[in-house]
Symmetry: C2
Subunit: 187 residues, 2 copies
Amino acid sequence: MTERTRRSDATRAAILAAARERFARDGYDRATIRAIAADAGIDPAMVMRYYGSKDKLFALAAEFDLRLPDFAEVPDTELGAAVVDFFIHRWESDETLVVLLRAAVTNESAADRMRTIFGAQVVPVLMKRGIDPSEVTARAALAGTQMLGVALCRYVLQMPPVVAMTAEELIAWLAPTIQRYLTHPAP
Amino acid sequence: MTERTRRSDATRAAILAAARERFARDGYDRATIRAIAADAGIDPAMVMRYYGSKDKLFALAAEFDLRLPDFAEVPDTELGAAVVDFFIHRWESDETLVVLLRAAVTNESAADRMRTIFGAQVVPVLMKRGIDPSEVTARAALAGTQMLGVALCRYVLQMPPVVAMTAEELIAWLAPTIQRYLTHPAP
DNA sequence: GTCTATAATTCGATAGAC
DNA sequence: GTCTATCGAATTATAGAC
């Protein structure tokens, strides 16, 4: 309400934005509070004051909702393309997923959140599509290996051929893979 | 030759084995020289004496040769299955690849080595199979996203459904994917 | 609200005794 | 060859002045 309040809100937001970028680029360990504060143009002590600890700051920086649509009006034959399209564009526009992926490799709580997201958000959507409940977990996991593998190679390891491809090229290549994992008979 | 020499060799090997395990489990940053020395049952100073620095120790712990066969007698229709079979069993039996993968996420030199391995070892093998040279890099990269994604989910993130699958189940699911990335017409 | 100063750890690396 | 002792740097986190 007052100017003080407004500025503190802006500072909070600046800290969180800087934290997201640092965590995305450097991972949990190498992203220091000092660096985050420097990026936000404030004192490191302010980060502690606003967020309590590095852990709590990370928890908020890595907080996000997949916002996975239910693909209700997508024909069965195009489910793979729709899923790939959603994930690729989601990844391109929101670095939070990269934050989480990078941290999950060395941070157990981040890894746990990664596991939860796929178990709690992806599986139910596929259930609604009428995929055999006894197979849906394995199918979602297989699709997860491909989508996370792309994210790893494109955004984290930055392998040149994967970075060079356009989003549309990637989608065209990956769609049949996901389609098969989700809908084709088990081998 | 003498007993002193033999024991120092054994100590060197013990350090390297402990380092590989720690790097595989904890990544580069969190794997401390102190912890590695404790695992090996020796003094931390010995690690420095034998390997000079943490960087050099890691370089040796992450050193490995893919030993990718040339798949000369594999029929074209079974190339995907052969490649997947090789990688899965390679991963199951040698944790060095996990060492490298885990470190590559936060360590630039490890990421560079990862990129080099796929560019310098995988691509030439596919070239010999007669894959269109103008497409072979992209095809190898796509296969890389799927194989690294599996390694990430199974060995690093340890997603329950992926861990639960047997190597043979995994191979059966993944083989058609790799087959398509390597040999089918581009979309 | 913001910053200075510093406490408390932890780490890689070194020096030197034995 | 092995270990003790320790340095110097970097980190998170806290206490308190302004």
